[in-house]
Symmetry: none
Subunit: 233 residues, 2 copies
DNA sequence: CGCGTTCGCCACAAATTTGCCACACAGGGC
DNA sequence: GCCCTGTGTGGCAAATTTGTGGCGAACGCG
């Protein structure tokens, strides 16, 4: 899977730099533009997967850039503005941005929005089957179902997500905090023992059926992992 | 695994206190500073894993502290400020903070940001192999497992970490204090003979399987080392 | 607005690891 | 060989960490 391309346009080079660093570290391929004209050029050239646009830029401003982009593309666009006054304008149909962010922002917040928008787009294209199979286990994120040995096991949303995460990274140990971050979100603030509760319920349901080829194992003092016992791929 | 160290600098003792409590509850090792000078001192001394800096502090302000820190370190820094006006300055390259929080904040929000930044840093360094192989020995920190001659050897967390440290620095001698500092943390208060106990248990488990190509050796009057006997890389 | 689920969390029990002691033993200097 | 100091080791109780039953609160759904 090629990297997701992100185009960041802001005339403040410091801001593009900081956001760019963040984006790179999250695994995006980053390109930056310092004004509207450059942004449009790079857009045509690179076909990025998402665009971050500052509203205030010299010559061609963010509104204009977004409008231009929308003539040829439905690529997700997130606008950055100094204050909230432009809300209606930005989100309105004549501009058609997908989200907007008000300064001051934190880079983490921006990246969260980027992820959210990309996820939204992704979910709107239900092309690829979200199914995971390992031995006697199969987990399906499309319809949130799971089966052991061919027989359906009714699991709740959180249980499915937990199983999906663990089984999708076979043998990797997840700390409770890892799991809280992945499943509950980075801004969740609560008891990490909650993870134990879900593991408990998950095990109880799964163990109702036999599955000698794998198990959810506790790594004492560390966390949990999905351990496969055969040597399947 | 030693605790993550967090340094919180704010001249308002109520703020450091509340944030400190929250951070402790999340398992961080917390240190606080009441002004910029103290923050820099503690920073040099403790090498924290993340720093929370209030912009407004007596004498040396948060900007200055961050700039100083950046001269020697890329440790994540989160700045706290009263209002958004300093946004561009903080996020700019000449300061180089990693995130930005505006007062009033909720402690939960702050901790969420801390987690997010730490996670980002962590994810940005996926390069280091979490697997160590030397001859008949392999140690894996991803799944906290170890094997000798292909056969899995169940080890506890401390044993794995001890083995990882020793084997990862082949032929280097570690004093008991070295090991206490690395594995237990510099503030651990206890008997250094505890290390012997772990070496004992580690040897017992490892020696259950044959491994003629290496051994954990005692250097009399000094400490322990992992000695490789072949001339493998 | 009820009703059945799901979810987060608590409290207590169980399981496991860990730190340390005590004593035996080994190493090194004289 | 003798003594002093450092190390190996069995054992144990304390400290941690995890398993689990259960209970409201929140949620989702007619």
């Amino acid at each position: 899977m090629p990297k997701t391309k992100i185009l960041i346009a802001d005339d403040n080079r410091q801001i593009t730099s900081v956001l760019g660093e963040y984006a790179k570290k999250e695994g995006y391929e980053v390109h930056t533009a310092a004004d509207g004209g450059e942004a449009l050029e790079l857009f045509a050239l690179l076909k990025p997967d998402i665009v971050l646009l500052d509203v205030m830029m010299p010559k061609t401003d963010g509104f204009e850039v977004c409008r231009e982009i929308r003539k040829t593309s439905t690529v997700p666009v997130i606008m950055i503005t100094a204050r909230g006054e432009d809300f209606e304008k930005i989100m309105g149909l004549d501009i058609g941005a997908d989200d907007y962010i008000v300064k001051p922002f934190s880079p983490g917040e921006v990246m969260a929005r980027v992820r959210a928008v990309l996820r939204r787009i992704e979910n709107a294209n239900p092309q690829k089957a979200q199914t995971l199979v390992y031995g006697s286990l199969s987990v399906n994120l499309d319809d949130y179902s799971a089966a052991v040995g061919g027989e359906n096991v009714p699991l709740t949303k959180k249980e499915i997500e937990l199983l999906w995460t663990l089984a999708g990274n076979r043998n990797k140990v997840f700390s409770r905090d890892n799991l809280l971050n992945s499943l509950w979100g980075y801004d969740y603030f609560g008891d990490s023992r909650t993870v134990d509760s879900h593991i408990k319920r998950l095990r109880a349901k799964l163990d109702a059926r036999s599955h000698p080829d794998w198990e959810i194992k506790t790594i004492w003092g560390v966390g949990y992992k999905f351990e496969g016992k055969s040597d399947e791929t």
